[in-house]
Symmetry: C2
Amino acid sequence: MKTIGILGGGQLARMLIESSCRYDFTFRVLSKEPMSPAGKLTRFEIIGDWDDEKALEEFSSGCDVITLENEFIDFNAIKFLEEKGNYIAPGSNVVRSIQDKLLQKETLKNTGVPVADFTRIDSVSDIKDFASLHGYPVILKSRTMGYDGKGNLKINSDAEVNNAFKQLSKRGELLAEKYIDFVLELAVQCSRSTNGELIIYPVVETIQKDHICHIVKASRDRFHYLRETVSDLCKTITEKLGYVGTMGIELFLLPNSELLVNELAPRVHNSGHYTIEGCKTSQFENHIRAILGYKLGDVELTVNSAVMINILGETDSTADYKGLDELVKMQNTYCHIYGKQLSKPGRKMGHITVTGENLENVTANAIEARAKLTI
Amino acid sequence: MKTIGILGGGQLARMLIESSCRYDFTFRVLSKEPMSPAGKLTRFEIIGDWDDEKALEEFSSGCDVITLENEFIDFNAIKFLEEKGNYIAPGSNVVRSIQDKLLQKETLKNTGVPVADFTRIDSVSDIKDFASLHGYPVILKSRTMGYDGKGNLKINSDAEVNNAFKQLSKRGELLAEKYIDFVLELAVQCSRSTNGELIIYPVVETIQKDHICHIVKASRDRFHYLRETVSDLCKTITEKLGYVGTMGIELFLLPNSELLVNELAPRVHNSGHYTIEGCKTSQFENHIRAILGYKLGDVELTVNSAVMINILGETDSTADYKGLDELVKMQNTYCHIYGKQLSKPGRKMGHITVTGENLENVTANAIEARAKLTI
């Protein structure tokens, strides 16, 4: 059976392994720390950082294909592995043009994909110029390494520009985007195989709390009217990039029912965790199928509604989950615990998916389920 | 999170781990050989035999509960672990009264559970006496260590008695049973928790080939008329034994629609593999829940029909699976590969479950799917 390498040992790598352990693929995981969430499920956890060439070589040894769970990985590490003759999906060029948010936006815009107005920012006056053209608020963003609201600042007036620039430019280069007054934040996952086959998951609503994904709501037919537009977007984006694997696409739904692409993630995505219990084939299994060049699995919802709620750390402490015995009493409720040793405020420690008929009830059940668990 | 020990590292242990890896329990596996099917999915595979007290102690260290995947384990190994203060489910007394088929039949009979007529056999004349009372054919069986037809012989006449006795008595003590001319072979799994909660899976048809489980057919409402009888049987048997965990019960359906219990398995069972994709909660997850004292999950079928077909080894060779890429093209078809390094004739190397509406079509699809895979 095939050997699959995953750069990173977090929960996304873990769920990739879980999704296809019935196939007896061998998984090799490169993790900075031992006993990572994914490393617990394989005998081949190689400890090392992305710039450690020896670790990269040990990790990649015998892999039929290598993939990643994190777009922050240094693009040079991927390139290094490619130059050694490894097949990596998605590849270094794709990751590079996504991990740099300015490059990502330019790629999208050049392909005709609708995005918010944006510009490169090198100085305070660049921000003010952009605002005078598009108005406030402006979102100032780090070009790289931003996630869960880190590396993003909302600027409401000229008075806030200096401070924001000073704060964020410490993190590296910047871009600015027009603030979008969206009706809803949506997301979609799609998987594209080495042979070009593309499947598109249902469009879901995502609800953020403190800029971190909090709840994802999937419901049959709810965004059916967006289906064609979203399909075209997925096709355009993945073909333009020559993308292979599952991709997460964050969208803004505008008052006029049009869509803007907010951000791409070149990997399985938190907004698609509901697919494990909610869809015929999960985003994780289809990622594995895609990078192996296998036929992709059906992705329709098997339930009317599926709601995912994240389990986020609340304090700096050793993770100590309590309440699972109470949680399993709830029907159609699926708890995933990632196995991280340390909890931190906002850290993704697990998630719960609840399935059922009525979206409102299912959402209420998900919130109730979450409350049963303490970390 | 809890630490669970499994005595044995085969496919049943593997599927126990798969069924609950989203909970991040720690699994410790005792296996005779390294890189066992289950050992591939945990960092804690202890190598040793059941009579190796040092290995048993190392294995059991830190376990909250210990279970087993094989009823042939020496009852003394379980007792040894119990005496060291470990909680084992099912416990040594239960395993003892099931692994000895004579004791098992006596226990069942004494509890009022219908079984075929049987007797203890110490000599050739015991067999002839039994036959003169009940008629031929007679099934001669080893009291222990019989499986997949090994340790069983069908005797059709007095002329065959000597040979059969000579052959089987090499394996140890014997019993004889009246040959049952059944209409169908059926099976059912049930799970009973430490707190006495009992859930009963649907009754399924099992089809053997060369005495090895070949196909299992589950279909909604098909054996509904047996539901009450089977529930009573499960309740009687598990309560009498004080059983904890999932149990497999093999049944004979007689021409008059009555049932006889053929054999018990004190563990998850091949006839219940279809529950992974066919039921709301698999026999594996409910086994884990049961031994932890958690609420058991719903067991109803989520599909109209589910058919499981075993992937059996054909020759003595290194296992080399081919055709998975073709197999995944089939819809509603779920392939499980156990990860055994060596294939042998009749060895269980994997299984495929197909789900769908019409039982006949689903069965045909399962057979078609099996044909796509070579080992």
